[in-house]
Amino acid sequence: MKEELKELYRYRELLYMIAYRDIRVRYKQSIMGFMWAILMPVLIVLSGVVVRFGYAMASHAPLKTADIASVAVKSLPWAFLVSSIRFACLSLVNNKDLVTKIYFPKEIFPIAAVLASFFDFVVASGALIIFFLVLRVGWSPYLVWVPPLLLTMMLLAAGIGMIVSAASLYFRDVKFIVEVFLTFGIFFTPVFYDASMFGDKGKWLLLNPISPILDGFGASVARHQSPDLTWFVYSVVCAVLIFVGGYVFFKHLEPGFAESI
C-alpha cells in the first residue's frame, strides 16, 4: 500500500488536473455552474427549515435562529458527500477511454470527483457565510473544529467513492442502488433534526459514521459548542477504516479495469 500511495503522490498533478477539468467543465456555463453549487444546499436548507418549522409547531416551542443555522451548516457537508459519491460513482465509467488506454493510478478519478465537489462546497460556504452574517449567528473558537470535521468527511467520501466507482465498473446497476441511498440517506442522518432530539435512542443514529460529523458541524458552528469527542473519534476511526478498505478494494480490482469496463 505504501508503494501505491507513493505512486499516487507522484501523479498528484494529474489528480489536480482531472479535478480542475471536472470543475472547469461544470462551471463553463458560469451561471449554471454556480447554480449547481448553490442549488442543492439551498433546497436542503429550505426543506430543513420546513421540517424544523413543523417540529416547532408540534412541540409549541419557538423556532430558534440556532436551529435554522444548525440545519444550514449541516446541509452543506451533506450536499458535499452526496455530490462526491454521485460523481465518483460514474467517474471510471465516464472516463472509459482513459481507463482502457493509458496507465496511471485510477483512484485519481473518484478522488478528483471528491475534490471537484469540495470546490462546490467552498462556493456554497461563501454563500452560507453571507447567510450567517445576516442571521447574526456569530462565531466562537470552536470553529477550529471545522477543518478536522471536513477532513474526516473527505476521507469518508473518498473511501465510499472508490468502492462505488469500482463496483459500478463491474456492475452497471450499482449506480441506481447508490442513487437510492443518496436520496433516502438524509432521513437516517441528522441533517434536518439533531440526534439529541431522540434522547437515549439518539446513539443508534450516531452509529452512522456520517452523523457525528454533521452533529459536530452543528455544534461547533451553530451552537458554539465542542463536538462530542467520543463520537467524533468513532467517526474518524470509521472514516479511516472505510478509506483504507476502499483503497485496498479499489487497488485489488484495478488490474482488471481495462478488460472489464
Binding site: E13, L14, M17, I18, R21, R24, V25, K28, D97, L98, T100, K101, I102, Y103, F104, Y170, F171, R172, D173, V174, I177, P255, G256, A258, E259, S260
Partner: protein
C-alpha cells in the same frame, strides 16, 4: 545501468470469451440460485483463449522495434500490457525509464475544453508536469499547426485537427521508452512525415521505440528489428526485411465459417503473378487470383466476389463473376468449382488484402468468406501516394518569370 529498455519474458495473457455478468440484477439471481439449488455458477462463458502466449523479447535503448501481424494477433494486447493498462496473466515484464504510449493520442481530450486547456490536460495524463508543458507550449501548438483555433473548444475541431493536436502533445513527452500503435494513420501525408521525423529524434535521444503498424513500408523504413506475431505467438524475430517477407508469405487463410451446415465453402485462394505464386507486386502489374470452391450440398445461383481491402481494412475494390457477365452457376453435392480472376494492380505503395466471398445471387445470402484471403504488398518505386496509382507523369512544366510578364505588359 543496463542498456535494455524493455524486456518481456514468457508473457501470457488470457481473456474470457463471451459476456460476464455486467449487472447485479443478473448476478444476484445466479448467486442465490447456486446457494439454494447447488447450481453451478457460470460466471460468463467458461471458454477462455490466450490472446498472447509465451511472448519474449528485448528492446535496447536507441532501438526501434516493430511488431507486425494480422488483426487479432495480439499486438495491441502486448502493448497494453507493456503500458501497464492490462496485467499479464503470467510472465515477467521490465520497462526501464519513463514510458509514453501513443496508443490513442486524443483519449484524454474533453470536448468542452479549448485546445489550449486540452494540451495541459492531455500532457498531464501522458505524464508531463505542468511546468514542462508550459515551457513546451509554443512548440506543441506550432507542431500541431492549428494556432488559430487553439482557444476554440475541441468539439468544433475536425477529426484531423483533433488527432493532430493529440499527437503534438504526445510527441513532446520526451520519453525514454515510446510505444506507438497505429496512430500515424491519422493526419495527412505531410503530418505523418513530421511524426516519423519526431520519432527519429526520440530515437536519437537514446530512447527505445516500440512500433506497431499495418503499414509495412513504415515498419521497414523505421525499425531496426521486427517481431511477427500470429495468434498470440511469436513466429519470428529478425530484421524487418526477413520478417515482413515471412509475414507476406503467410496469409491467414482462416475460413470464416466452418460447420457442415454451409452448403458451399471456399477451399483455396491463390494469388500469382506472371512469375508464379507470389505476394510482392509492382504497381500496375497483372495478378491472377485462383479460387476453388467445394459444394457439400446442391446449391443454385452462385456467384463469387473478389474484393480488396487496404491496410485499414477499408474496401477499395469489388468485382464478381456476376458483375463481369458470367451469370450464376449451380453446383451439385461434391462438385468442385474453379475460377480465375485477372486484375491489374493499379495501386499505390502499401499493403492490401484480397478477399473472396461466395454468395447465392437471388437471395443475396453469403455462404463463405475469406477476409482476407491473402496479403499482398505493392511497391511503385515512388512518385505516388494514396491508394490508386494513375501512373502520373509530368509532361510539361514551365515558369514564366514575373519580370518578363511585366515587360510584355509594358510593350
Amino acid at each position: 545501468m543496463s542498456d535494455i529498455a524493455i524486456r518481456m519474458e514468457h508473457v501470457y495473457k488470457k481473456f474470457r470469451k463471451g459476456e460476464t455478468y455486467s449487472s447485479l440484477r443478473d448476478l444476484l439471481p445466479a448467486l442465490t440460485g447456486r446457494m439454494f439449488r447447488q447450481e453451478e455458477l457460470t460466471v460468463g462463458d467458461k471458454r477462455e483463449f490466450w490472446a498472447v502466449r509465451d511472448l519474449s523479447f528485448e528492446v535496447k535503448q536507441g532501438e526501434a522495434f516493430g511488431i507486425i501481424g494480422h488483426n487479432g494477433a495480439g499486438k495491441s494486447t502486448a502493448l497494453k500490457m507493456l503500458s501497464r493498462v492490462m496485467k499479464p496473466t503470467k510472465g515477467q515484464m521490465v520497462v526501464n525509464g519513463r514510458l509514453s504510449a501513443l496508443i490513442e493520442v486524443s483519449a484524454g481530450f474533453h470536448q468542452d475544453l479549448t485546445g489550449r486547456e486540452n494540451i495541459f490536460l492531455n500532457g498531464t495524463i501522458l505524464g508531463m508536469t505542468k511546468r514542462e508543458i508550459q515551457s513546451k507550449l509554443d512548440q506543441i501548438i506550432a507542431f500541431s499547426g492549428i494556432e488559430e483555433f487553439i482557444d476554440t473548444p475541441v468539439k468544433r475541431y475536425s477529426s484531423g485537427m483533433y488527432a493532430r493536436l493529440g499527437f503534438s502533445v504526445a510527441a513532446h513527452v520526451d520519453p525514454e521508452v515510446l510505444i506507438v500503435d497505429e496512430v500515424l494513420s491519422v493526419g495527412d501525408y505531410a503530418f505523418q512525415q513530421r511524426c516519423i521525423e519526431r520519432m527519429r529524434e526520440v530515437l536519437r535521444s537514446g530512447a527505445a521505440v516500440l512500433f506497431v503498424s499495418h503499414n509495412l513500408k513504415m515498419v521497414a523504413e523505421f525499425c531496426h528489428r521486427c517481431l511477427l506475431l500470429e495468434k498470440g505467438q511469436t513466429v519470428m524475430i529478425g530484421t524487418p526485411q526477413e520478417v515482413i517477407g515471412t509475414y507476406l508469405q503467410k496469409p491467414s487463410n482462416v475460413p470464416a465459417v466452418n460447420d457442415n451446415s454451409v452448403p458451399v465453402i471456399i477451399s483455396s485462394v491463390k494469388i500469382r503473378s506472371q512469375a508464379g505464386e507470389c505476394m510482392q507486386f509492382r504497381s500496375g502489374e497483372k495478378a491472377w487470383v485462383d479460387i476453388e470452391l467445394t459444394a457439400r450440398q446442391r446449391c443454385n445461383k452462385l456467384a463469387v466476389t473478389l474484393y480488396i481491402l487496404d491496410d485499414k481494412l477499408a474496401e477499395i475494390f469489388d468485382t464478381s463473376t456476376d458483375l463481369l457477365g458470367q451469370g450464376n452457376f449451380d453446383l451439385d453435392e461434391g462438385d468442385a468449382y474453379r475460377c480465375t480472376f485477372e486484375v491489374s494492380l493499379n495501386l499505390a505503395d502499401g499493403t492490401y488484402h484480397p478477399s473472396v466471398l461466395i454468395y447465392r445471387r437471388d437471395i443475396q445470402m453469403i455462404y463463405d468468406k475469406w477476409e482476407p484471403a491473402a496479403t499482398i504488398y505493392v511497391s511503385s518505386g515512388g512518385g505516388v501516394r494514396g491508394i490508386a496509382n494513375c501512373f502520373p507523369q509530368v509532361i510539361r512544366q514551365e515558369i514564366r518569370q514575373a519580370t518578363d510578364a511585366a515587360l510584355v505588359g509594358g510593350v
